[in-house]
Amino acid sequence: MRTAFLLAWRYLTCYRIRTGILIGCIAIVAFLPLAVQQLVGHYERELRARADETPLVVGAPGSRLDLLMNSLYFRGIVPSTISGRVTAGIEGEGLGHAIPVHFRHRAQGHPLVGTTFEYFEFRGARLARGRWPGFLGQAVVGHRVAEAEGLTVGSTLLSDVENLYDIGASYPLKLRVVGILEPQGNPDDEAVFVDLKTAWIIEGIGHGHQDVDENTSNALIMERRKGHVATNAAIVEYTEITPENVDRFHFHGDPADFPVLSFVIVPADDKGRTILRSRYRHREGVQVLEPAQALRELMEIVFQVKRFFDANFAVIGVTTSLLLFLVLWLTRQIRAREFETLYRIGCSRGLQWAVQAWEIALVVVTGLGLAILGSNAVVWGLSTGLPG
């Protein structure tokens, strides 16, 4: 056995280029299915973990998968919203409680999520540094956002302007970072969290501007009537909320009617869950989804696509195996004299087969090893950019 290994090792290391090509072929052919398998597995685990810990989500009617991706993973944009009225009363009835999740904007490219403190409690999020936001215009950021933007407590970041050429749109709001979350291993790591009201200000529902009264310059006034003054666009709107100007921020309308992307519903118990699910299922203008079930539907689609890839990889694998078999067979023809010499000297025919078996084993194991290492490296690399 030792002799066979030595002879095989010497042969492979002597003809390095030939050996390298064979190993490379095996590594490439094995790498693709392994990487896809690992990536799908990784995505599935991460997505499932998030979905499994979220009992119910209530949002506007439309695509279930869009609502799922938007509310849990902060991916994509759902144009429809609901108001806080849809969840009114559930706490009073003791059925559970609703946590608003309002994701419509971004801050320096990162998802900007308006929510309440309950969200952090529900997700079990903890602060690595700083404190929770208790003030309009304050934000806590996920640890990857902090890393990517070089943010610390006291830093600021800007909400993104949705359309650069829309001069009627609201200005970007400067947000002050008051806390940085501990690494969670979920999409929260990549999000910027603000108070729900701050999110509405960014949306333009609330705003702050310089005081307007009878003494205000006419240059800023569009219309002046008794008890009502309408200003024009020349009025200075605040782009940062500070202790000095916070009192000048206000909302027009009833906050109960303000838009919210969705609510995470946390039922008090199984009974509450059943009642709430049934209630929202029959209610017009909303849809309720159980994330775990919706995710299963999504993964079914993913697996259908993966099955196609698997079949493709299988065909490539068989083709490559046949080519490798041909290479080995031709190699044996070329090396017939070498093996015959070994036999004439006194080696058994079995040793010859053992040498070739070792060669195949070394090449295949090295190729597969490289493929496994490569796929792990790719998954590790990509996972840093994945939602969780």
Binding site: T3, L6, L7, R10, Y11, T13, C14, Y15, R337, E338, T341, L342, Y343, R344, I345, G346, C347, S348, L351
Partner: protein, 224 residues
């Protein structure tokens, strides 16, 4: 005098059936050096392979070093060859992916009875020194000259101190000076270990150095 090789009425036929060799009687005495001559294709190499146990006759008796090799199993014949017979081939048949040292020690790697002991290493060093190969031991044979490669092959054949040396035209591709050097080395080793020697050659200028010359065609006729 005792015989090293004794062949009686030996017949061999290749599986294709197109070639049959018959050797009525052929003997080589202990320590005898026999040159085997004859035109190509008459069966000289086949006879050598029969004696080595690489091929097996379908009739007759063959006694090598006191062992009736025809009655041995394939495995026993192989072991017998590995331990008692040294073979030198015309094309050297070295393994280019092994070093010169490993090529010389190949019979031990292949499982010769003796372990790869300090004695063997000492013998390898002595043989390679006598063949002028010490500086090449760590190199691969592909970079060596024809003469050097053949010397490696001879060292490989001699490393087990065989009692019978079978050489299949080993100097056929070498110049006269190298041929002389190699003959000297082999004869010296054979003498030292009291080994018998059967040497196929087409070079009539070296026949005088052998104890006896057997003209294959005259002795056994052409294989049919």
């Amino acid at each position: 005098m005792r015989t090293s090789v004794s062949v009686h009425d030996l017949a061999f036929r290749y599986q294709s059936g197109s070639y049959e060799l018959e050797v009525p009687r052929f003997e080589v005495a202990e320590r005898e050096r026999v040159a085997l001559i004859g035109p190509s294709g008459v069966g000289k190499t086949t006879l050598l392979y029969l004696i080595a146990g690489i091929l097996q006759g379908h009739r007759g008796t063959l006694n090598v070093l006191g062992e009736s090799t025809g009655s041995l199993s394939e495995s026993r014949r192989r072991q017998f060859r590995l331990s008692h017979i040294g073979m030198i081939f015309q094309e050297f048949e070295l393994l280019d992916h092994l070093t010169v040292r490993e090529n010389i020690l190949l019979p031990y790697l292949a499982g010769a009875e003796q372990a790869r002991s300090e004695d063997v290493m000492e013998r390898m060093r002595r043989l390679s020194a006598r063949a002028g190969l010490e500086q090449y031991l760590g190199r691969r044979p592909c970079g060596l000259s024809q003469g050097e490669r053949q010397r490696v092959a001879i060292c490989r054949a001699l490393i087990t101190e065989p009692s019978l040396l079978l050489a299949d035209e080993p100097t056929g591709n070498l110049d006269p000076a190298t041929t002389r050097t190699i003959l000297d080395a082999v004869f010296e080793e054979a003498e030292e270990h009291q080994a018998s020697l059967i040497w196929i050659t087409h070079d009539h200028s070296i026949l005088g150095r052998f104890d006896r010359t057997v003209d294959f065609l005259a002795e056994f006729g052409e294989a049919s």
